[in-house]
Symmetry: C2
Subunit: 375 residues, 2 copies
């Protein structure tokens, strides 16, 4: 197996190819939240996709205004979030907290921009399509509110593998458990794990069985409800009905929306693990028809945006330390349930900041750029 | 919630109480593998259970012979594994690799000892009962080979929560994903994670998104197929049929055997995580009859050897950093499937070295000691 490296969208299959155009005529892009975990990766990706956008405006909070960020090789000064900043903007990508998107996305639309939003603010809005270009690119054209939503990063990793199998076998039910990286909670999550690891590393007793991680970490929990170093935390999101977390229900709702399966059964457990970047999901998928593991491997080998890594004897299975920094979703451990010929088990890992956020946004942006150019 | 601390077996419910007896008349115990991860915890536990055993012989490989280990407060010299060491032994606990148990357990039986084996060597042998004292204590009395097996530590964590629910609702199917600690692979696993964390901690770039864990760790993988620091490894055990790992099939087979449900559907994904001690399992359990989450909480609150930690709003759910060093199995995140009134989802964490190994062995030992005393 050769390790797939970050690939331009042309190789990510199923995504509209952007025709080279007169640079003076290229659309103007606004990037809101350019200094965050997702926004920083977006700046990296835009640098490898230089033929798409004309002017790019980098926007963040007042904390960052005046900072210089390198984008497409050019030092660019971060400007503040005002209504006027969207004047003349064709596409605005929002990589900011829910409440900032909720308020500012309609403002950007009012100034004439099409918004691609990475937050959770609009995902379940019936008038906002949720688009994964490899799966439902057509949905991006119908956007009554002028907003297109990106799925959550855990949903994204899972659905890239589930959708091609659904097309073949007809999905009926999903039981999934996640292994979510700390960068899924933003830059603050990464900084927290780093600080906690330094603290538990200093505590010699923690090498042993009985060392007390809570004592070493104290109340330095960052965005998490418990220490994440040397631990797994079976909670992410807010408290929802019936003991479910908002992230668990979101995974269900988003999967149903993207696949157009409103009655799909989904039971998810969302768990945070001490990994920097790369969300993994253990999937048990039940289909309408009988499945075959070798055939499922073939389907996934050919699926756009997916790389098959499935040779346990050779130590090959999807893992965050390999998937980080790459474009595709890594899928492996594909096996048919011993007790159910209609069920497949598999393991998926995707870079939550790339395909789980910035890359998918860039791909949607390119769909829109193509649409704009054709006008 | 008060954090449950290591409790003597009398509090672990469902376990036979050992009557105080004439100390000269107490059974002789051999502890084979006294220097390992499980054996060390066994020495600790025996120190808190002083009224059970007469003489205790500590045994390990030639590497450890002559070392002094403190057991029940007394420095005890480790002796070597020979046939003669079992002469006069009533009960022999084996905490050694499979192949050592396979050879030496029958030798111990031949010398008159009853063997309790923690390895995988005899678990699926029809003539060897697999006993969890809270669940099937009666099975320990029927041991045609003179050997009683302990379940695998992942099975153990899960089954402590599943068995009481099965009794109420009738178990039909399990879909589970594990979060297994490195000490499940013995002391070598713990040492490996510690070394790897030191290495990635030294590499400043690893605080960032793109840091290369493989580069920092090199080929210092210890007992694992890939780096485990800052990673999750979706593989444990050996390659079995159909893409399954031996650990995944074992979880199925052991669950069927302990519950006496030979046709139970079980689909498991076993994953190693960078946690020192404490195996967790995300469980989706389907039952014959409808379930109720509040009722399930009550059942688990009353179940022997189980502690219910289920208040997400207050940050209470089962986690390895809390469960480590305690006797009970921690269960929480109990919720009824939104789409299936017969399915419950929950999360379980147990100390793999205690209830997952040494504690259960000690409990079986006490069942046998009671039986011997009644002769
Ligand atoms: N991380 C992931 O894996 C992931 C995946 C999918 C979706 N998302 C979603 O993407 C969004 C961004 O996540 P992130 O992980 O990048 O978070 P982050 O690292 O915390 O970054 C937040 C960004 O938003 C900016 N911001 C915050 N408040 C603002 C305000 N009032 N006005 C203007 N800018 C403001 C911040 O600017 P300053 O630097 O100036 O504070 C920063 O650029 C969130 O909605 C998140 O749920 C994240
Ligand atoms: N770790 C867990 O969570 C867990 C849970 C359930 C079951 N188990 C099972 O329990 C057993 C022990 O596991 P562990 O984690 O404690 O392993 P470990 O830390 O590697 O310890 C192995 C022990 O076996 C001894 N040993 C090895 N080869 C021997 C030989 N030829 N003769 C005599 N003694 C020998 C070692 O002695 P030296 O120190 O002298 O080498 C050491 O005491 C394994 O079968 C394992 O699968 C482990």
């Amino acid at each position: 197996m050769t390790l797939p490296s970050a690939a331009p969208s042309q190789q990510s299959g199923g995504v509209a190819r952007v025709r080279p155009r007169d640079p003076r005529n290229q659309p103007t892009l606004a990037l809101v939240g350019a200094t965050g975990a997702v926004g920083s990766v977006m700046c990296e990706l835009l640098s490898a996709r230089m033929n798409v956008w004309g002017q790019i405006r980098l926007i963040a909070s007042s904390r960052s205004v005046g900072r210089t960020v390198v984008c497409r090789g050019e030092p660019t000064v971060v400007v503040s979030l005002t209504p006027e900043v969207f004047d003349g903007v064709d596409v605005a990508m929002f990589d900011v907290p829910d409440e900032v998107s909720e308020h500012w996305a309609p403002v950007a639309v009012g100034r004439g921009a099409i918004v691609i939003d990475n937050s959770g603010a609009f995902r379940m809005d019936h008038d906002v399509p949720m688009v994964v270009p490899e799966i439902n690119p057509e949905a991006a054209r119908n956007r009554p509110k002028g907003i297109v939503a990106n799925a959550d990063c855990t949903t994204m990793a899972m659905i890239m593998a589930v959708a091609p199998l659904h097309r073949e076998y007809g999905l009926r039910e999903l039981v999934v458990a996640s292994y979510q990286a700390v960068s899924g909670a933003g830059q603050g999550g990464v900084d927290t794990l780093r600080r906690q690891l330094d603290k538990v590393g200093d505590d010699a007793a923690l090498g042993s069985r009985t060392g007390n991680v809570r004592r070493a970490v104290g109340d330095d929990l960052g965005p998490f409800p418990a220490p994440v170093a040397l631990n797994v935390v079976p909670w992410s999101g807010t408290v929802a009905d019936g003991g479910w977390s908002s992230d668990e229900l979101r995974l269900r709702d988003e999967t149903r929306k993207i696949l157009g399966l409103p009655d799909l059964k989904v039971s998810a457990t969302c768990v945070r693990v001490p990994v920097v970047t790369g969300h993994s999901v253990a999937v048990h998928a039940v289909f309408a028809s009988e499945v075959d593991a070798a055939e499922a491997q073939d389907i996934l080998r050919q699926a756009p945006g997916v790389v098959l890594v499935d040779d346990p004897a050779a130590g090959e299975f999807p893992m965050p330390i390999d998937a980080v920094g790459t474009d595709p979703t890594w899928v492996g451990r594909i096996r048919r349930a011993v007790d159910d010929p209609r069920a497949l088990a598999f393991f998926v890992t995707g870079d939550n900041l790339r395909k789980g956020a910035a890359l998918n946004t860039a791909q949607i942006g390119e769909l829109l750029a193509t649409e704009l150019a054709a006008r």
